[in-house]
């Protein structure tokens, strides 16, 4: 299969869905001629025109609220928030509006809306351009949260997110945009939301990750293999709803669990997955659950400090090795 980048895969999904359904539209800052801060929407204005590629002023709260309203009438807006950090400004329209309307109004209302946003550190963008806020939204009933790591999953999950009748937060780690991989072409099928992917089979320890850290977890598994540790890597892909079935089945086989999460340690998705495993298959665990996360600190700008704070392949491998008794 041909290999393309994560950004190109996203653009293909947007383009194919916009061609397939005239209700799909894009909304966001600098998404027209400029193509978005990370180039994902490049060329789409020329193709679909300004009624469907809606460039906005800098007013995130306003235009996400606008997307909610459009979705109530059946439009399928895909909104770009330039950095995940700016999701702070759109919490109200997403949490108090989009996530509630179907529950409260029943059949009368649905919000088939996607908010795409680049998360994460690694490029010295500093404390207000590097954050991971997935947990806030996974904590909100009525929202779905996806965070694919491969170009193929990005394309398939974007299609699913657009076709979904619910608000979906689509997290694109900024380190992933240039990464490449095989991606099916035109007319490829959506990948269902809520299904994890076993990225690598193994027997000694299960490593759970998603988004950028799924790639780091696979690299960690390669390193562990050299030391004779056979790690299984699960890429969660969706953070809400969580695919616990795949996790539980894996943990039952390996008896050991490492969870890697770029978000701060407290109150995060890593804690949620860990406690669910504990609730469901405590007796299968051969040791404590280990988490590799950013400590409870903001992401500093200096590359040295940033690397000190962020999880990476070495820290994931070290946690897994320790759990397997190989120090």
């Amino acid at each position: 299969m041909r290999e393309i980048s994560y950004s190109d895969a996203l653009r293909e999904a947007l383009q194919e869905e916009m061609s397939r359904d005239s209700e799909v539209l894009l909304i966001g800052e600098d998404i027209g001629t400029y193509g978005g801060a990370f180039g994902v929407t490049r060329g789409l204005l020329d193709r679909f025109g300004p009624d469907r590629v809606v460039e906005t002023p800098i007013s995130e709260g306003g235009f996400v609220g606008m997307a909610v309203g459009a979705s109530l009438l059946g439009a399928r807006p895909v909104v770009e928030i330039m950095f995940m950090d700016f999701m702070t400004l759109v919490v109200d329209p997403l949490v108090n509006q989009a996530a509630k309307l179907h529950y409260v109004y029943g059949e009368q209302a649905a919000c088939p809306l996607v908010v795409r946003t680049p998360s994460g550190g690694g490029r010295s963008y500093g404390p207000t351009h590097s954050q991971v806020f997935e947990a806030w939204f996974a904590h909100t009933p009525g929202l779905k949260v996806v965070a694919p790591s491969t170009p193929a999953d990005a394309k398939g999950l974007m299609k699913a997110a657009i076709r979904d009748n619910n608000p979906v937060l689509f997290v694109e780690h900024k380190m992933l945009y240039p990464t490449r991989g095989p991606v099916p072409g035109r007319g490829s099928r959506p990948i269902p939301i809520g299904k994890a992917r076993i990225a690598r089979r193994g027997t000694d320890v299960t490593i759970i990750a998603w988004s950028w850290l799924a790639l780091e977890a696979e690299a960690a598994a390669d390193a562990l293999a050299v030391d004779g540790i056979d790690a299984e890597v699960i890429d969660m892909r969706t953070l809400s709803p969580l695919d616990m079935e795949t996790v539980i089945e894996s943990v039952q086989r390996t008896g050991r669990l490492v969870i890697a999460d770029e978000a701060p340690r407290s109150g995060g998705v890593s804690a949620d997955i860990g406690v669910r495993v504990f609730e469901q298959v405590f007796d299968y665990l051969d040791g404590p659950i280990r988490r590799v996360t950013t400590p409870d600190v903001p992401v500093p700008a200096s590359p040295v400090l940033e690397q000190a704070a962020l999880p990476n392949r070495e820290r994931i491998a070290a946690a897994a090795a320790e759990l397997c008794g190989a120090y």
Partner: protein, 324 residues
């Protein structure tokens, strides 16, 4: 040519000139350091806009305050921050203003009233309003200058904060630096009014449209707005019409702006213009100019050396200072 209407002495005017030059040379050093990979993160340069920061800050007293933006280096320098520690911060070094934690978009020096740059567009506007409330609470006569771009004026925070400041007549001067482009978005297509200053009417405060490349015009307007704020008569909105010469940031180098437009604005160089004004007043001889340029170049050279030779932060610093 008539002497401009300003109460600045010749020495003070020469200081404005020096400050503008220092900003420009500093930003050139930032660009060069980015090329050398000494600056790893984003940096938004202020080249072309120097008259705005210098004209406003020269109207403030030492114990006044200011808030800044992602494009904040010029505000810091105009306020007299140390270019060595600024550059070290942009390099991510331990000797920087924020020990490397903030980077280019987050320089602060509260000891000089500089309350901080801001990575969130529109984020500083309510903060400045709150600082003005703080001045009111401590019953001081201090004033807050609040810088932001025209792009920020479409955020709710702009409208909410100005209304809050207006109803309480808080001592704040809102300074919009209208450089006509917010990343790739042209002012006309994103903004429903022809001038940001027109929005002042919605909050019953004075709005001033100023040639933002004329440092004396900016200064004169700032003096009036600062006096008003200090007297307890409330906020003003100043719109400095200006332009940035460089692309949006060192990361966003694709430049959607028409080259003719960029060239036209470069011809209105605020520094060259002010030099001419000074020369026409016989306030700046060729020798004086050379001496100022040399002194500025030396400061920048020293800053580059300082930042380059400064130590990286200790990794443990990442875990420090989470709570006060």
């Amino acid at each position: 040519m008539a002497t401009p209407d300003t109460n600045l002495s010749t020495d003070q005017q020469l200081e404005l000139y020096r400050s503008m030059l220092l900003i420009r040379e500093f930003e050139q050093a930032v660009l060069a350091s980015h090329e050398k990979r000494l600056v790893q993160g984003p940096a938004h340069t202020y080249i072309g806009m120097e008259a705005s920061a210098v004209g406003i800050c020269s109207a403030l007293l030492d114990d006044d305050y200011l808030t800044s933006t992602h494009r904040g280096h010029g505000h810091c320098i105009a306020r007299g921050l140390d270019v060595k520690r600024m550059l070290a911060e942009i390099f991510g070094r331990a000797t920087g203003y924020c020990k490397g934690k903030g980077g280019s978009m987050h320089i602060a020096d509260v000891s000089r009233g500089m309350l901080g740059a801001d990575g969130i567009v529109g984020g500083g506007i309510p903060i400045a309003t709150g600082a003005a409330l703080g001045c009111r609470v401590r019953q001081s006569s201090q004033v807050v200058a609040c810088f932001f771009g025209e792009g920020a004026t479409n955020q709710g925070s702009f409208h909410e904060a100005i209304n809050l400041a207006a109803i309480r007549k808080l001592p704040v001067v809102f300074v919009c630096e209208n450089n006509h482009w917010a990343l790739s978005a042209g002012f006309e297509v994103t903004t429903a009014v022809a001038n940001v200053a027109d929005r002042a009417a919605a909050y019953s405060i004075p709005g001033h449209i100023v040639d933002g490349n004329d440092v004396l015009a900016v200064h004169t307007t700032a003096v009036e707005a600062v006096q008003r704020a200090r007297a307890g008569d409330g906020p003003s909105l100043i719109e400095n019409k200006t332009y940035r010469w460089e692309p949006h940031s060192v990361f966003n180098t694709k430049d959607p702006r028409p080259p003719d437009e960029v060239a036209e604005w470069k011809a209105r160089d605020p520094i060259a213009r002010f030099r001419k004004v000074l020369e026409e007043q016989d306030a700046l001889s060729a020798d004086q100019d050379a001496a100022i340029q040399k002194a500025v170049a030396a400061l920048i050279e020293e800053a580059v050396e300082f930042a380059t030779n400064s130590p990286e932060p200790e990794p443990a610093e990442a875990m420090a200072d989470i709570y006060a």
